[in-house]
């Protein structure tokens, strides 16, 4: 009997110690919920930037911590992203590289200070993160260099069937980057309607057209 009392006493002493050690700090799940509530109460909609921008899809949610999601989750995000890709209905993948360069330079669009959320109001922001043509020295380094993108991948003639795989891959990467890396930093330009088909064709030309300055 006395023995049992001792055990109970020891257990409650441990409980007190644990409680003291955690005083004031909620569990990780509670903190997640509190963080979400904090975001919702801290932001308000302004212009085109509505509150639905805080509603995360499965990929955004899984890629919102310092540690990447588990392998199975990453695979699921990539598979779902791959299924969203729309290839051009008329089979035309390549536009004008000159227009693609303008889009690559243009970092505007989708902020609360922009009037329209239509793709026509948006740039591609490509130089923010990538080196692209050799002439533009002001480029970011968050993404890999795209200088000589087509040339390095052996694209000599866009009408040659041998170019098809890289052309299709590039379209898919621009349409939904998460199809190839679940937590890619690159926006999903087609999937989130940041750029329309015509604009993506022009960016494609900048990267792949043998005549584009990117491939000289």
């Amino acid at each position: 009997m006395q023995h049992k009392h001792l055990i109970v006493g020891a257990v409650s002493a441990v409980a007190v110690l644990v409680a003291a050690g955690c005083a004031g700090m909620p569990s990780s799940d509670d903190l997640d919920r509190e963080a979400m509530a904090m975001l919702k109460s801290s932001f308000t909609e302004r212009g085109i930037a509505k509150m639905d921008r805080l509603e995360q899809d499965i990929g955004q949610k899984a890629c919102s911590s310092a540690t990447p999601p588990p392998e199975a989750m990453a695979k699921r995000i990539e598979a779902e992203a791959l299924a969203t890709i729309k290839y051009p209905s008329d089979g035309k993948y390549i536009g004008q590289w000159q227009d693609g360069e303008k889009l690559a330079q243009n970092g505007r669009g989708m902020s609360w200070s922009d009037a329209s959320a239509q793709p026509s109001a948006n740039g591609g922001s490509c130089y923010n993160c990538h080196q692209i043509s050799k002439q533009e020295l002001s480029y970011g380094t968050i993404g890999p260099s795209l200088y000589n993108y087509g040339k390095l991948r052996g694209v000599k003639d866009l009408n040659d069937a041998a170019s098809n795989p890289i052309v299709k891959y590039t379209w898919a990467k621009i349409w939904n980057s998460k199809a190839f890396a679940a937590c890619s930093n690159m926006p999903r330009f087609g999937h989130r309607q940041l750029l329309d088909e015509e604009q993506i064709r022009d960016v494609m030309a900048l990267l792949l057209d043998p005549k584009s300055p990117v491939n000289q």
Partner: protein
């Protein structure tokens, strides 16, 4: 006028230096022209104004801010900046400098804090806060960032700030971490400090408030965060809202030991 001339000179020297140093670190270039203007950071004009505004009797109660407690006791300004945001018992909140100034302007001077929070940057009493922030941060220049984490709420705000920092959302899937999660990255030519750790003396958290040459005015940390969220394509963060304060705690605690150069001079 002096201010405009100075900003003009800065822009010219930036453009002139721009081509030559394009492949050099942008930070080197900025450090260079910061040095050129060591005795002429336009933030000094804000500092002088802030020092006056602190002492001046203003507002419906016609009081000064000299009894305002920034965390080290009523009226203590020196050293306060490098310990903010922190817990305040009177408001039962963790507050950054700007939200604390709102509290003092309301309780001591009788201003309406909610009205000021809704005012656009650079206008009305927001301009007062910008000047005060310049002077108050300057009063800790050269000191090391050392936010307290003794109170449970300070530790909780750090955890919430960390979650906000990594929170991906919006049409472009950006979080703070997209740009500020690793070392050595740039957007265009702009170097991006890694804010998940101490990025070094006078870098990142230890540089704001700062005089922004490109916009020709002084930006508090609140304004810096506001423009980050604009470019992140998020909705609009309320001035002195909890998310901005939590991020301040997260960045500030990570930057512990970094020497503050605020108010700095920025591109």
């Amino acid at each position: 006028m002096k201010q405009i001339l100075m900003a003009g000179m800065l822009m010219t020297s930036m453009v002139f230096a721009g081509a030559a140093m394009a492949q050099k670190s942008a930070a080197d270039g900025i450090a260079e022209y910061r040095k050129m203007l060591e005795d002429g950071n336009p933030a000094e004009l804000y500092e002088a104004k802030g020092a006056e505004l602190w002492k001046k009797k203003r507002g419906p109660k016609n009081e000064s801010l000299e009894r305002c407690d920034l965390g080290l006791g009523p009226g203590v300004v020196k050293g306060a900046w490098v310990q903010l945001p922190r817990w305040f018992a009177d408001t039962q909140r963790v507050q950054d400098l700007e939200s604390r100034l709102l509290t003092c302007m309301e309780t001591l001077q009788g201003f309406n804090a909610a009205e000021i929070a809704k005012t656009s940057f650079d206008r009305g009493e927001q301009e007062t806060i910008e000047s005060l922030a310049a002077w108050i941060s300057a009063s800790s220049r050269g000191q090391k960032i050392s936010l307290p984490q003794g109170h449970a709420e300070e530790r909780r705000m750090y955890e919430l700030g960390k979650r906000a920092f990594f929170f991906r959302g919006g049409p472009m899937d950006f979080s703070c971490a997209t740009c500020h999660g690793v070392d050595g990255q740039r957007v265009r030519l702009q170097d991006l400090p890694n804010l998940t750790k101490n990025p070094g003396d006078g870098i990142g958290f230890a540089a704001w408030p700062a005089y922004r040459v490109s916009s020709g005015n002084l930006w508090t940390m609140q304004r810096r965060l506001n423009d980050c969220y604009r470019q992140q394509r998020f909705p609009y963060p309320g001035f002195a809202s909890d998310v901005t304060i939590a991020l301040g705690v997260y960045m500030g605690v990570n930057a512990r030991g970094a020497e503050s150069i605020a108010p700095a001079l920025k591109r």
